[in-house]
């Protein structure tokens, strides 16, 4: 009876502090491209990790092709024919492509030593068959992100997987690479494979998927035919209510130039230039967005602006002041605000309370000093409590709450509150809504627009092209450390920006 390649019935899985999958049932037909849709934290990755053997469910049954199976570890999953292309690549950086593909099932010589020559040949064959264009001998360190993903795909093909799971595959790809991936998925389907696509990108679901199952907060909501529904309907299922995509904003009221970046070069920790001869200007009252795929220099640009990385050439002027070689604290004092990309690593101290985090950038100022020159802790609390109220940060114990115990959304709100309350001349925000629930996302985006309306100069860096197009007044496309084009809101389509993002040098198109 069963046309189902995969049946996951009544799966429950708990982790410390959370029920990731709550009695979830999923059915995928043979040779189908099936989307698994949900917000961050809905439980999609967990469910698929169970299918792939990385975790074992607390409860429930899994059937493959009608037969009940017990998937205790990834090796069992691989033997059954299930392969996974991970979101965060599981590749050893200093091994070659071949070594990564055969890791764990290396061909051996008679003497039980490694025989990589045979492996290289097979990898080359597979690469040619599916048009994956990967060199078996190159090291992971030396190949692009898109190519690394194809190595992950080759891993599944090498072990003859019939069921392939893609976990958020397009987060790290340019629009062109996304198109190529869609083609590869169609080719895999044509070869008889069953594909599951974990994603929250509605556009991609509409492009390539046959069916879509929705998870929300650990629970299974339903399965639909992709052809029968609109993106809006999918979004509503995902979130549980009607979702407003567009943010309406007034036209910007542009003031003087606040940030003037002149031909700067920024090298990373290994001495490689990640930002090359880059210039841009940001005015009061406008939001300038940097659109680009991760790894094209945005991170290094922000690190160079805030002072974490040195600027080897060029100048940075903040409201006329040359801050190119100033210390980080000096830049903060001169009016540079920064909501960092990695909020846990750079944005807050998770063992500190919200009081202590609120003053991270200005605790040393006279206003926080008692007459004995000790720190005025009650004053910290006062300031923090005000921020918590203004920015609707949900806490257990108010300003005394330990920062690490808040949810991601509330942590981000607290960080943004701190930065905005410092009244910076320029506010730099990176990935403001990554990993957050829809409620927090809406709130934060609204606040960003509010600040811009008050005359704040804002630099926004985001990998979500939608977010950039929605919020920004001007958009700069970055590729390989250069700004390759700057446009006003409404002047270009996503397609055109995507092309910019993929170009290799100014004006040239990427062949790959």
């Amino acid at each position: 009876m069963s046309d189902y390649a995969i049946e996951m019935l009544n799966i429950t899985k708990t982790f410390p502090g959370i029920i990731a999958n709550d009695d979830v049932t999923l059915r995928v037909e043979k040779n189908e491209v099936h989307a698994l849709l949900g917000e961050n934290g809905a439980g999609k990755s967990t469910l698929m990790s169970i299918l792939f053997g990385a975790y074992e469910a607390d409860n429930g049954i899994i059937k493959i092709n009608g037969k009940e199976v017990s998937i205790k570890n990834p090796n069992v999953a691989t033997d059954i024919g299930i392969g996974m292309v991970h979101q965060h690549f599981k590749l050893v950086h200093n091994y070659t492509v071949t070594e990564n593909i055969v890791l764990g099932r290396e061909p051996r010589t008679r003497f039980h030593t490694l025989n990589l020559g045979i492996a290289e040949k097979k990898v080359q064959e597979l690469s040619d068959k599916y048009g994956l264009k990967v060199d078996p001998k190159s090291k992971i360190d030396d190949i692009s992100v898109g190519q690394q993903q194809r190595v992950e795909i080759l891993k599944t093909l090498y072990s003859d997987s019939q069921i392939i799971i893609f976990d958020e595959p397009t987060a790290v790809l340019t629009p062109q690479e996304i198109d190529e991936l869609m083609i590869i998925i169609k080719k895999l389907q044509a070869e008889g494979k069953t594909i599951i696509l974990i994603t929250h990108k509605l556009k991609e679901i509409k492009t390539v998927c046959d069916k879509c199952s929705v998870l929300r907060r650990g629970k299974y909501i339903g399965t639909v035919n992709v052809a029968d529904v609109s993106e809006n309907e999918l979004a509503s299922m995902m979130v549980g209510r009607a979702v407003k995509f567009e943010i309406t904003k007034n036209p910007p009221k542009i003031g003087k130039v606040m940030l003037d970046v002149q031909n700067i070069t920024v090298k990373d920790h290994n001495g490689i230039s990640k930002v090359k001869d880059l210039s841009l200007q940001i005015h009061e009252g406008e939001i300038l967005g940097i659109a680009g795929v991760d790894g094209n220099g945005q991170s290094e640009l922000l690190m160079g602006l805030c002072g974490m990385l040195p600027v080897s050439e060029g100048k940075i002027l903040l409201d006329g002041n040359d801050i190119t070689h100033e210390s980080i604290r000096s830049r903060i004092e001169k009016g540079l605000g920064h909501v960092p990309e990695d909020r846990h690593k750079y944005g807050m101290v998770k063992q500190f309370t919200l009081s202590e985090n609120a003053v991270l950038k200005d605790f040393y100022k006279p206003k926080y000093s008692t007459k004995y020159h000790t720190l005025n802790f009650p004053k910290f609390k006062e300031v923090a409590s005000q921020q918590i109220e203004d920015f609707d940060v949900r806490t257990g114990l108010g300003a005394d709450t330990v920062a690490g115990s808040l949810s991601g959304g509330n942590q981000q709100k607290a960080i943004i509150a701190r930065e905005i309350e410092l009244s910076p001349k320029l506010l730099m925000i990176a990935q403001p809504t990554r990993g957050l629930d829809v409620g927090a996302i809406e709130f934060i985006r609204k606040r960003i627009i509010e600040e811009r309306d008050k005359g704040q100069a804002i630099l926004l860096v985001s990998f979500e092209l939608d977010e950039i197009m929605n919020l920004c007044d001007r958009i700069a496309a970055i590729s390989h450390g250069h700004i390759v084009g700057i446009f006003n809101d409404g002047e270009v389509s996503q397609r055109e920006i995507g092309l910019m993002m993929a170009s290799s040098e100014k004006g040239e198109k990427d062949e790959g």
């Binding site: 410390p16 502090g17 974490m308 980080i328 000096s330 500190f352």
Partner: protein
Amino acid sequence: MKAKDENRTFIDKLLDSDVAISILVVMLGFLVGTLLILLVGRNPADMFSSITESMFGVAKRNGDWNFRYVGETLAYSMPYILCGLAMGLPARVGLFNIGAEGQYIMGMTAAQTVALLVTPFPGLWFFCLIAAIIAGSLWGGIVGILKAKFNVSEVVATIMLNYIALYTSRLWGFTLPGATTYNTAPLPLESKLTKFLIPTSNFNTGIFFVLLMVAIYYFVLNKTKLGYSMRATGYNKYAAKCSGISTVRSVTASMLFAGAFAGLAGAIVLLGGAFPKGRIITGMDNYGFMGIAVSLVGNNTAIGNLLAGVLFGILKQSQSLMQSRNIPKEITYIIQGLIVVFISLRSGLEIVKQKRLTKKLREEALSK
């Protein structure tokens, strides 16, 4: 979904308390030590009696109470407390200072140099202590700068500096007045610390400086801007740096303080009455290494170091008593080593806590 707060049992609360863990670990160490003694056919009661006598003293034949052992315990506690502080402060900034031994040696060397080269006058001892603090501080500062500016791992660097300090101290000692293979000319009376409270022992006025250092440790770390910077750097040096805090300053300052604490310890031991002449050392006193255990048990806090330091002082004093009762004194080193290993598992406790939490959630979810 999270587990309900009312359901936290006694065990949960125990696992959350750092103090309870420290006490538990010490008890575990003693338990294993006791078993070891039984294993080699000796009497654990002898070990425990040595310990209690070191804590409370012993009755004299004429009915009076002899506090001498208590005095020695307190005398030993002083360098333990200081070396504990020397480990603890850098630990709060995220550094592993195994170099207290070398900083101690440099402090001792500076103290005896001043004692022997300066014409004696009343109060000379104070300047000896100051010299020790400065010398130890500089030796610690080297590590701080190496770490902060060059990102040299302090773990191996401090060990190397310990040995370099040892041999440098010997070479320097050879140039001091009256130097022989093992010691120098006698230390002048004015350089010695006065005995305090229990004259039959070596307990001396150094204790005031020790308590002062404990107070400074607490105050700096918890009440000052420098302390805030240090704590932030220790928890998350990236966020600290990105927020404008000078991690270089925090790291270097912590090592300067640490070296000062350990250097002072070296001087107090030298001038406390146990040594009539200056020392040309042949080995390390080990207070520095024990300081690591002290601070770990004390959870790198001021009060914790104070209490743990006294505990280790008790153990050290009880060693000679044990030896006379046929218990090898090394049992105390074994107990201390075990304590450190057990303490390292503190982070492993997180796992136990998480497993309990997961189990509870699973039961809640499946019972619906």
